[in-house]
């Protein structure tokens, strides 16, 4: 049995779907109507599964990205830590400013 690529298999399913869709269901006897509906259902579901598998194939590309981005949390924390230190220095500067104001008034 010849091997088909995913795209070839998909093309064949799509072709089969179009052929079945062209059939006027109202002109068929009841058993054939049910067979047509079941065939349409199965082909439709197979096509959807193939499309979903293509999305699933991206999973492995997603996986390494999440930890990479989470590493940036530590970098942002460094900035926050520095801000805390700057705030402490700011208090010292404030006191200095008051002293300088006094000196400047004497000059």
């Amino acid at each position: 049995m010849a091997m088909h690529t995913r795209q070839e298999a998909l093309d064949k399913y799509l072709e089969a779907r179009d052929l079945l869709a062209a059939q006027d269901i109202s002109k068929l006897p009841l058993p054939a109507q049910l067979r047509l509906l079941q065939a349409q259902r199965q082909i439709y579901h197979e096509i959807q599964l193939m499309e979903a598998q293509a999305i699933e194939a991206h999973d492995d590309q997603y996986l390494p990205l999440t930890p990479d981005l989470k590493e940036s949390e530590a970098d942002f924390q460094d900035v926050r830590d520095w801000a805390d230190k700057a705030a402490q220095s700011g208090e010292a500067v404030e006191n200095l400013a008051k002293g300088l104001g006094l000196i400047l008034s004497l000059l």
Partner: protein, 348 residues
């Protein structure tokens, strides 16, 4: 006293130079960060929901077929599995959460710092006439108040400068990951049709280019799955309409079926439009982060050049210029030194 005056002059000039050099982030950077963060919030709210809605549309198409078969007296199997596993939702949601946290940090750390940055200090220094820095004239009360206010804002100045540089480094470092993540989400949303004849068939990341606010893709992804699900349900509803007089197990009349048909079509169009909008937001997000990287690359490059001596007043001595420039170059570390210097000054 002369030494004291000299030190005060150095401090004042340092502050003046700071107010001139540390202009803070450009409006474009601020705008890019806000665009990036707001885009990410939209993607966070939309993507998982649209993935679930796609699965739901697929299940609705299967149900429509199942009900028609039952109404015709058939007994169809109803054992089809779902399209997406828990893992597929989980890997995407984890990445979206990480992107959202990154965007939140970027906005919070940078914009919070920026809000308290040096707009105030610059305005206050405009009140000081450089000629008055010849201290034999003394400073007026207004200038003294401005100077003190400015000194109190020094930590904020230094933080804004530090945050600017550090956030720039973070943006540079994470750009490839952010762009790839956004492209993967775009690709997962996909296209209901081949966008053009040259849609990429190999590794899309090799040839992926943003063009005219879209990325050329082959048919595929959530939009394709959803579009097919919607068409399938509509087709089955039309078959139901055709077979309506023969259906023994249905009490639905023609008007009700037609009504459902219109509603299904409308819901399909709305969801596809929403997914297309999410893709537009992803492009906006990528573009904002690209712009941000470019802006920061320029700013970091400019910051690596030492301040020219010319930025200091001409009456500033050569030795003092050297000291001041060195201090400016070590902006993030200068505060403790400044405090120490000031304390010595006060002790004298």
């Amino acid at each position: 006293m002369k030494n004291l005056t000299g030190n005060v002059v150095i401090l004042i000039c340092l502050l003046l130079t700071l107010s001139a050099c540390t202009t803070g982030p450009s409006k474009q950077v601020k705008s890019d960060i806000r665009t990036f963060a707001s885009s990410m919030r939209i993607v966070t709210n939309a993507f998982a929901e649209q993935m679930r809605a796609t699965e739901a549309a697929h299940q609705a198409a299967l149900k429509e077929n199942t009900f028609l078969q039952f109404d015709l007296g058939g007994n169809p199997p109803v054992n089809e599995t779902g399209l997406f596993s828990y893992r597929e939702y989980a890997v995407r949601n984890s990445l979206i959460d990480a992107l959202q946290a990154y965007a939140h940090n970027l906005e919070e750390v940078f914009l919070n710092a920026e809000e308290e940055s040096i707009a105030l200090i610059s305005e206050e220094f405009e009140e000081i006439d450089a000629e008055l820095l010849d201290l034999s004239h003394g400073l007026g009360d207004r200038q003294k108040t401005a100077l003190i206010g400015s000194l109190e804002g020094l930590s904020k100045v230094a933080f804004a400068a530090f945050a600017n540089t550090e956030v720039g480094n973070i943006v540079q470092k994470n750009h490839p990951t952010v762009e790839r993540a956004a492209l993967l989400l775009y690709l997962d949303l996909g296209s209901p049709e081949d966008v053009d004849d040259n849609c990429p068939t190999e590794d899309v990341f090799q040839s992926l280019k943003i063009s005219k606010r879209q990325i050329p893709l082959c048919r595929g992804g959530l939009r394709s799955i959803h579009s097919r699900a919607n068409s399938e349900q509509l087709k089955t509803l039309r078959q139901r309409l055709q077979l309506l007089p023969k259906l023994k197990h249905s009490d639905e009349d023609r008007e009700e079926v037609i009504d459902r048909l219109y509603k299904t079509r409308k819901a399909g169009k709305l969801l596809d439009k929403a997914m297309a909008q999410t893709q537009q937001v992803l492009i906006k997000l990528i573009t904002a982060h690209r712009d941000l990287r470019t802006q920061y690359a320029a700013e970091i490059s400019a910051a690596s050049v030492k301040p020219a001596a010319g930025v200091l007043p001409s009456w500033f001595g050569t030795a003092e210029k050297g000291t001041a420039i060195n201090k400016l170059a070590e902006l993030t570390n200068f505060l403790p030194g400044l405090v120490k210097e000031g304390q010595k000054l006060l002790e004298n």
